[in-house]
Amino acid sequence: MRTLVTLIWTVSLAAQPVRNPRTSPDDIALGAKTFRSHCAPCHGMHAEGGRGPNLASGRFYHGSSDANLLTNITEGIPGTEMPALFYMEDRVWQIIAYIRSRNAAAERPAGDVARGAALFRSKGCTGCHRVGGVGGSLGPDLTQVGTMRSVEHLRQSIVDPSADVQPRYWVARFKDDSGKPVEGFVMNEDTYSVQLMDMNQQLHSYEKAALQDYKVEKVSKMPSYKDLLTGEPLNDLVAYLASLRPE
């Protein structure tokens, strides 16, 4: 009987979510200070995202609970650019308190999600972008883009796609050893070779020594929708993209 009680007590303890012990206004202010010094270079001054994901949305790629955040900030996230922060737990809890304060204040886009989804299909976005396994693969998969990018970043990507191009979508242009012009997205590159996806979504690998006029352009292949989508339709499309936050 004592064993059973102990077991139930242990299980119930284990099931309790970890709670942030540092959530006072002072903690949030101190967390903001640490965030601006140590996190903002990648995640933006207001956690809106940049090189690193948008942290203001309240949903996170690698777990949204306080316990997840504590682990990810303290230990870093293997396989990503997120380093370990090496702060004692109290300091990390303050950062989490600040992030949560941003979540509460996160910007809500004004547009209509359903109309935006229809625009996404009708304007040809699915030709290059995939959402939930449906669509093309030339452009970035947008299934979780609402967790990754701020509303403002999404808007900018539509009207000025070349403003922020991830290296994976840089375009290599050259003539191959037969003199044939080649163009493709750089999937990988080293001193001696380059691996590409061409515009027909075929994969190729080339020895660079055999190529002529090799150059890599850091501009987007996506056309600008600056003159095609304005006002309400643009807001709708942004709202749809911002809603792409699967649990």
Binding site: K33, R36, S37, H38, C39, A40, P41, C42, R51, P78, L85, F86, Y87, M88, R91, V165, Q166, P167, E189, D190, T191, Y192, K218
Partner: protein
């Protein structure tokens, strides 16, 4: 010539056989350069040339290099080890702080020392280790929980284990120790945690500390005036890359790291001695004989943790004891080794922070180069134009070889208060810029002029050191996982192999049973090459 080489190989093989059960004496370490079958100190010899007189593998034969064996390490951590090889046995470290003894001809294991570590380890940049030192029948290793351990070279059994510093306050040891006489010289890491740096000497027999040189003087000591208030207590200046030994002058010459906090110098106005410096210590007492500070009041994290290359040569027509030093800040320096005086300096990579160096070697800083809240773009980047990975000097070509980064970072300035065990850095810079990732090279310099003799371009920035040999080869590696051999005179590539993992280590070469081997760590394995039979 071929007959001479054959005779030399036979002699070296006989020596190796005779010495199989011999002990490593201080005399052998002093003359390590004359014992090419072995690699007995971190840089191959006390002057740290990372050069070998072995010449089986040459520009003509290197195309026949094949993998002889591979040793896989059961670790997800970064491998930065430089192996030692003594009398047919290889001693290398596995991260975080383990040691392995292998048969150097086959890669088969004799023993393995596994370090038990506390749960929380405070290291800035990975739980890494760069190698061991050896004397007698003892192997010495520093640990990331800031201990120094002596192991039995035959079994791996612990002979003594001393606490060098408190790991909970950010001290750790990643450096390969250096044996000098009957002492183990060992540095400390922790420049991102506000430690007060030092260099220690320990008795090889007992582990008792002989001396400690604090790299930050106290108030009232010479140099103490370069720190305001209590900033000296948390000022950094660690010693995390192995230095060199000038036996004739009895000087240990070692580089020191950045002042803390790294990117905000507001709490430490002044030159912050002896951060970012070359220091020369009396080997017996640990007393400072001279210093040269490369970057007074550094706010860019440009440690002087490069390997000092000691050369007795001519300088402007006169014989002189020299140090060749390519610094993380993008300048190549020549120093006088007797007094530490500056003789010459010039950029070896793109830099945008200094107009040049004055007659004393002090940088003439350009305006607006300090980190700022909005970010300041400066070449070189945070990881420098070069870093801890080793350079090489080849007495045949009289060239200085090194791995170079051509890149910039965005230096941010933030606020920072010290608290023990927490990072103390003053912001996080954008070290690598996705839109402008930079590139790398292996470069040969004329060490007398700093002029570039040749350049081997790399698409990415290398973390691998270089090794040069009497076979007129320079071995180097890349972040892309390629290990390559270059013509030491021209930089022409004569051989390369994709090892499939990032190379963050220094190559070594040695001889077993008359065959020359070359080893380098890549990914989480150590690869050893020899000419195909």
């Amino acid at each position: 010539m071929r007959i001479q080489r054959f005779a030399f190989t036979c002699l070296a093989a006989i020596c190796s056989a005779v010495l199989v059960y011999g002990q490593v004496t201080y005399e052998r370490l002093l003359n390590a350069g004359k014992e090419p079958g072995n690699w007995m100190t971190y840089s191959g010899s006390y002057p740290s040339w990372r050069y070998s007189i072995l010449d089986q593998i040459t520009r003509q034969t290197a195309s026949r290099l094949k993998v002889e064996w591979v040793y896989q390490m059961p670790t997800p951590l970064m491998v930065e080890t430089t192996p030692l090889v003594v009398d047919g046995i290889m001693y290398l470290t596995e991260p975080p702080s383990n040691v392995v003894a292998l048969d150097a001809a086959t890669g088969r294991q004799y023993w393995r020392y596994r370090r038990e570590l506390p749960n929380r380890i405070n290291v800035c940049c990975g739980q890494v280790n760069r190698g061991v030192a050896i004397l007698g029948n003892r192997i010495f290793v520093g640990t990331v929980d800031a201990h120094l351990v002596a192991l039995d070279a035959k079994t791996g059994a612990v002979l003594w284990d001393v606490r060098v510093a408190d790991h909970t306050t950010g001290h750790s040891i990643t450096v390969a120790p250096l044996v000098v006489k009957d002492m183990v010289i060992c540095g400390i890491s922790g420049g991102e945690y506000g430690v007060r740096g030092f260099l220690d000497a320990y008795d090889v027999a007992t582990g008792k500390r002989r001396w400690r040189f604090w790299t930050i003087p106290e108030p009232g000591q010479p140099g103490g005036e370069t720190w305001p208030g209590d900033a000296w207590k948390t000022g950094g200046a660690p010693t995390w890359t192995t230095g060199s030994f000038d036996a004739e002058q009895n000087l240990i010459i070692w580089g020191t790291g950045n002042p803390s906090p790294d990117w905000n110098g507001d709490s430490r106005h002044g030159d912050n001695l002896y951060s970012d410096s070359a220091i020369a210590l009396d080997a017996d007492t640990g007393k400072l004989k001279w210093y040269f500070q490369f970057v007074p009041h550094d706010v860019h994290d440009w440690d002087a943790t490069q390997v000092p290359v000691l050369v007795d040569g001519e300088w402007r027509g006169q014989p002189r004891k020299l140090i060749y030093w390519a610094h993380r800040n993008g300048f190549y320096y020549v120093l006088d080794r007797e007094k530490g005086t500056f003789l010459f300096g010039t950029p070896f990579a793109k830099q945008t922070w200094a107009k040049g160096l004055d007659s004393a070697g002090h940088p003439i800083r350009l305006p607006n180069i300090d980190p700022s809240p909005e970010g300041t773009y400066i070449w070189p980047g945070v990881q420098g134009a070069t870093n801890w990975y080793s350079p090489s000097y080849n007495p045949l070509t009289k060239l200085f070889y090194l791995s170079v980064w051509e890149n910039r970072s965005v230096y941010h300035k933030g606020e920072q208060a010290y608290s023990p065990g927490n990072r103390y850095i003053g912001s996080v810079p954008l070290i690598d810029l996705p839109e402008d990732p930079g590139h790398g090279a292996v470069r040969a310099l004329n060490p007398q002029t700093g002029e570039r003799v040749w350049n081997y371009d790399l698409h990415t920035k290398p973390w691998a050191g270089v090794l040069s040999t009497a076979g007129q080869l320079v071995f180097g590696g890349s972040d892309e996982g390629h290990f390559f051999a270059l013509d030491a005179e021209t930089g022409r590539e004569v051989w390369r192999q994709n090892l499939g993992g990032i190379i963050r280590a220094n190559p070594v070469t040695y001889l077993v049973n008359g065959r020359q081997f070359v080893s380098i760590a890549a990914g989480s394995a150590l690869f050893t090459f020899a000419l195909a039979r």
